[in-house]
Subunit: 229 residues, 4 copies
DNA sequence: GATGAATGAGGTTTCATTCAT
DNA sequence: TATGAATGAAACCTCATTCAT
């Protein structure tokens, strides 16, 4: 509800609203072109690509690029934020429209992995910054927390699963998507199913304690059959 | 004996054979120092670190480094292969010593994630090369296949879980380890438990078909309670 | 009349005369705004400032700026010329009103250094172009020559002081003003006094020969007391 | 005595001392070549020249240049410091060898302006940094202070002349040298003589108060004849 | 064989000037 | 005509690799 706001401050494409200043039309088109090109290029090659590639692909000069984004990193962050934001909006809407809490949760993963996770830059960001952006992380956390609560209230989710667990899982699966994108696309869906099954309330064994900043008791695991007793 | 530090598992020097030329001792010591330093540096900073950092840390000059490894990438691959290989040997030994097939499998994951996955270069390699090396991938695949078979034969593993699934899972969890290494170390163990629970034969729902190079039917998932009927 | 854009101190618009074409008024206002802003910005930061800073400060777009001044250097020269010119007019007027020739001379320096020399662009111009402009240099030379003649005729000035000497002195002191503008403003007045004292006819020792394009005899100087004998 | 130490920490050209490590010979030669080229280029064009020009002139690649000096500014500062330092050493030695205090003072100016002041970078540094370097400024100040004291003790210098005055004068005259370097080289000597005459104890009129951070009383000056009464 | 200085292509960023709106 | 976005040629700096000592 309250979350998943517009990723960009000014939608600018609001119908019936003529562009206030005629000059901005081109600029906005260029900015969009840059962001699109950057999105694609970053997604494909990660955050280390030559900025020139982006300039070339978007059909603008270097100066234009740097007029819109004062820094390469700025561009990257903006792109990530936008992609993430628009994805989050979709995901939220879709989740809201889904009545079954479990379907909402699994649909969320499904959509996220389909949409975002082939994106090299996004996956990189998980390891280099802990997610695209602080804001992204926050919003995403809130959203996932909502999904978790719904499932928990319905008794579908393993009781001690935390939101952090789900967030971490999403990042983890993103990597899987990237890994198999070329060779075996779609294989990640099997991993997703496995994980979801592991999350279900059928599993009663408690999860190991997180123990922040400390190595938790390394008691590894036991044969699954034991959990029934 | 004391010389000839196997970079590759192949022993390379027949025992009892004294070093023919006095220089070899130094060279071998240097090579070892480089590999150790490179291992640490790559693990910490990933594959993009300045080669000089490695030279500095190993106490040799750039020329020496490049005499042993014609290319930065060569060094990286060799290091990954060695680290991976020695880890694999340990893992294999440990798994062989474990009678309970499920324990063997979970112990494998536990050890792998503990040993390898804090390693930035390794995790990077999953996304950039599909694993450290072809040889690594092969050996690892064979090993995991062995573990899978044992579990399968014992009826502990979900019947349609493939070795590819387990390989992918290991890479996926590696990412999770890296992500939370600083902020919440050990949280990955919770994910591991969840995944293992999802892998257990208690889950009877079939996994989605891989369908290579094609989008498999996107039927996402349903509430977990349904699977019993 | 109203057209014809004087770069020189001539006021430019006869009063009571309506602008023939409406646009010209705006254009003239813009030009003035640009020159004022440029004057301030160049004075503060020197000739290397970003042109945009000037455009911003003057409230006009880049296009307008470049319509009025085809080149950054053009703008700089025009500004320098104007500032210099208006200062020169003041100085001339003031000097004319001063009866005491020596007071006229010292007042000239005083006013120049107060008005112009905090100006980074002006001082820079001395070293990069030998003064703001050829025209400036000419007019300034003529003016100083006049002052020199008056002092000389009154027997107040050292007999072999040339106009070039005085011109050079003014540039030299300008640098002093700039150097101490922040740390010790006003210190230059001490230097000025010293220089003026050195210029007075009390000093009878002849000055070294200029010897154009040649190293004059390097006979350095002797203790001042000796000069009487 | 205590001042005017070696500008570079290691003279390196000390006779009879073989270079400790053979490798350094080339490097040192390159470093010297770079500093020489940079000295010339900076002197001629100021601190804004393209670094490539220096690389080209010194016959080394960009990397070499940046190996020795991590930053363009670093190079500039080092060059200035060295030039200044070696000049200062000479100047000090020469001054010490001169018995007549006034000759020592005027010789100092003479030498400084001959040696340093055709140097664009040095003069620039007066306005942008208040001198080449903090260390330079300090040492120079101490040196000039010594000269001033000697003259003062001999009763040759105007009593209220401060060391700051002399420092400022030197910077001011530097500018004069630069200004006339091409057109009328040597003219600055006339200015120097005038200034020195103005500094002599024959001038009894007190200098205006510095009044730090405040506009001192603007009483400009009067005809020189008045000072006798 | 070892060393680390040298190389120079390539990366990011700036800014005087032009041009579409 | 005014605007300010677009341009792209440098400028500074990095780093994988080579080479003289």
């Amino acid at each position: 509800m309250t979350l998943a706001d517009q990723p960009t401050p000014v939608p600018d494409g609001a119908p019936g609203q003529p562009a206030k200043r005629g000059r901005r039309a081109d600029a906005e088109r260029n900015r969009a072109a840059i962001m699109e090109a950057a999105g694609a290029v970053f997604a494909e090659h990660g955050g280390t690509v030559d900025v020139r590639e982006i300039a070339r692909r978007s059909g603008v000069g270097m100066g234009t690029l740097y007029r819109h984004f004062p820094t390469k990193d700025d561009l990257l962050l903006t792109v990530l934020e936008k992609q993430f934001g628009s994805w989050l909006a979709d995901a939220h809407q879709q989740a809201t429209a889904t009545e079954d809490p479990w379907q909402a949760l699994s649909g969320f993963f499904e959509q996220m992995l389909t949409t975002q996770a082939g994106n090299r830059a996004v996956v990189e960001s998980y390891t280099t910054r802990g997610g695209p952006t602080a804001s992204c992380a926050q919003r995403c956390y809130a959203f996932i927390d909502e999904l978790r609560t719904r499932c928990m209230d319905a008794g579908l989710l393993r009781p001690d699963v935390t939101t952090d667990d789900l967030v971490l899982l999403s990042g983890s699966l993103s990597q899987a998507v990237l890994t198999t994108a070329d060779s075996r696309p779609g294989q990640w869906r099997r991993l997703l199913r496995i994980s979801l099954d592991g999350l279900s309330s059928r599993n009663t064994e408690p999860l190991p304690e997180p123990a922040p900043s400390t190595e938790p008791e390394p008691e590894p695991s036991t044969s699954p059959g034991r959990s029934t007793s």
